[in-house]
Symmetry: C2
């Protein structure tokens, strides 16, 4: 029996996609082979690769001013790739709104002179700080934000107005979950393992001019330019992950695209936040305006009860609800592939658990 898996990532994939992938696993589209076995220089794989890019462009409204590449290494590799690719003044501004944006900031020290210009660490990352124009470094190469903070459950509600400075956003945990105006960004990057595909492929959407002058220090494999020029086929790509991403995007398109899934995501999130807010047993400490649509952390009255909650939920087919080790409590990650019924089941369980304890 399939469970509801609230993992923060890797996480649930849409069941119809999994079924389609399963059916084609030994013989994709009458090629007589699995996508896993397919040369990345073959026509069927080139079609998959091109379709994945086309679908992403269509779903996100990405103009031809931007290049789209599918690479390896995860968002963590992009932390360092960013200053190695965009390196003019060797200055960069960071907004620290959670564990990963802090990590991104710490990782770049050896490649650029990075500065934290705003942070919400003072209140345990429970809000998104306002970024005054006056704090922005006038000649910064870029400003980096993490659009949705997986661990603490916050999100930006709109792109930061950075003037002429390119805005770089880690969208790993919210890509394709709500509408975003790509033209406001210089670079968008995202590990695929939350809303898109099995782990192993990372999406980079970059304004072409920003990829033109990588630092001489930049390893070839971290250069965006390398993969842009080769349509992400400079070396053997993580083909199976890209293929599943393509199928997930096809599923999303048929569902009505990002607008449609955003509505469902808001419905799921509102249902859960409303239940928590109306309960005296559960609590979510995030300022309402900045609550994530994707990751909902919450606590019960005690750490002991939290442990029991996670165990009991697991027995009821509601898996991976333990909060991040740095935060504790519970966290329900309700990405695109989490059905409304999954959230309803969680709420039913939460009610029962509250009554029993």
């Amino acid at each position: 029996m399939r469970v509801y898996n609230f993992s923060a990532g890797p996480s649930m994939l849409p069941l119809p996609v999994l079924e389609k992938v399963q059916k084609a696993l030994l013989n994709y589209d009458n090629t007589g082979m699995s996508v896993m076995e397919m040369s990345h220089r073959s026509k069927p794989y080139e079609a998959i690769n091109a379709k994945a890019e086309d679908l992403l462009r269509e779903l996100m409204g990405i103009s031809s001013q931007y290049a789209v590449i599918f690479v390896q290494g995860g968002a963590s590799t992009q932390f360092e790739a960013i200053p190695l690719n965009i390196s003019k003044s060797k200055k960069a501004d960071y907004v620290v709104t959670g564990i990963f944006s802090e990590k991104a900031y710490k990782e770049v020290q050896k490649f650029t002179s990075a500065k934290v210009i705003a942070s919400s660490k003072d209140k345990n990352f429970s809000y998104i700080p306002k970024i005054e124009k006056s704090v922005i470094t006038p000649d910064a190469d870029y400003m980096h934000i993490c659009y949705n903070n997986t661990i603490v459950g916050t999100r930006f509600r709109s792109p930061v107005d950075t003037g002429d400075i390119p805005l770089v956003a880690d969208m790993s945990s919210m890509i394709l979950s709500e509408e975003v105006d790509v033209s406001k960004f210089g670079v968008i990057y995202a590990g695929a393992q939350k809303n898109l595909a099995p782990a192993g492929v990372t999406i980079v959407i970059v304004k072409r001019e920003l990829a033109e002058n990588p630092s001489p220090q930049c390893p070839t494999m971290l250069k965006w330019k390398t993969q842009i020029e080769q349509n992400s086929l400079y070396n053997t790509p993580p083909a199976f992950s890209t293929y599943v991403a393509m199928e997930v995007m096809q599923w999303l398109k048929e569902l009505g695209g990002v607008k449609a899934i955003q509505k469902i995501n808001e419905e799921k999130a509102n249902m859960l936040y409303d239940f928590i807010d109306n309960s005296k047993f559960y609590n979510n400490g995030v300022e309402k305006e900045f609550r994530s649509l994707m990751n909902v952390p919450f606590v019960s009255p005690s750490a002991d009860l939290d442990d029991t909650f996670v165990k009991e939920a697991g027995k009821n087919g509601l898996l991976t609800l333990k909060g991040h080790r740095l935060v504790g409590g519970m966290r329900a990650s309700i990405y695109n592939a989490m059905p409304v019924d999954g959230v309803k089941s969680l709420i039913e369980f939460m009610k029962k658990f509250e009554n029993d304890n």
Copy 2:
């Protein structure tokens, strides 16, 4: 209908493994979820990760002196990771025996003072050069070789005796295909998409002391040390590829391990080389002693006939036989997962094609 796929990589996977993976695709080992959806911090995935390492250690006889990590980025990323991880004298020796070892040499220029100490380029890479002790740089950080040359179809027959200098080998296209004495090497690395798994995971086997002092320039995600300390779970790993690698290694173990598959590989290769050598129609230009067990390039009497051969073979369920664009002709890659019957079918077709033309 499944075909015989002679692709140089990604390439065939063992049918029993594909069937097992297909069966478990929606629900792995009663977890209620696909491995693609599984948190990399969960017990079931940690078990997969540990088992993959254990199986590799067992199959290759890797001692505890060596660390084993599963990383992203392909062998191409390791080209640059090597000098960034092993950087004492900033000198390195390269043996150039094909397109990829040449690429590896070219890629490292910005990180180390690399020198080609032997090459077979003079004869189109049709042999493996003898490496005299006198040409080795006495204080080189390492010597780099490519153990099997996928494009040209040659292989080393034994590790180079480098004295105290660590021998670094790209084994992407022959790992687990024949017995190798790991203790003769400082570093072994291999993209998994030929003998092991779908593309997306790369194996690095490194003598622990060689990972201790990376260059300050080395990006965190390219540091072996980062992943060694975290059991390859520093960031989200390419979990599905590692899982399939684990199943492939389990299959290989049940088959009798590397010794057993080497016998089968020798049988397949000998059958094909013998047929080619006894034919006046086909030719393989590689010196017999250095012929690859994995990649068998050959030509017919003309480039036109080569084209026809590839097309006709395709119609007969023998796929991806076109030689690399830099070499032309045909190439049959006959990795571990290629059944003996696949090679027999190819030879039957070659006979027929010769008679018809």
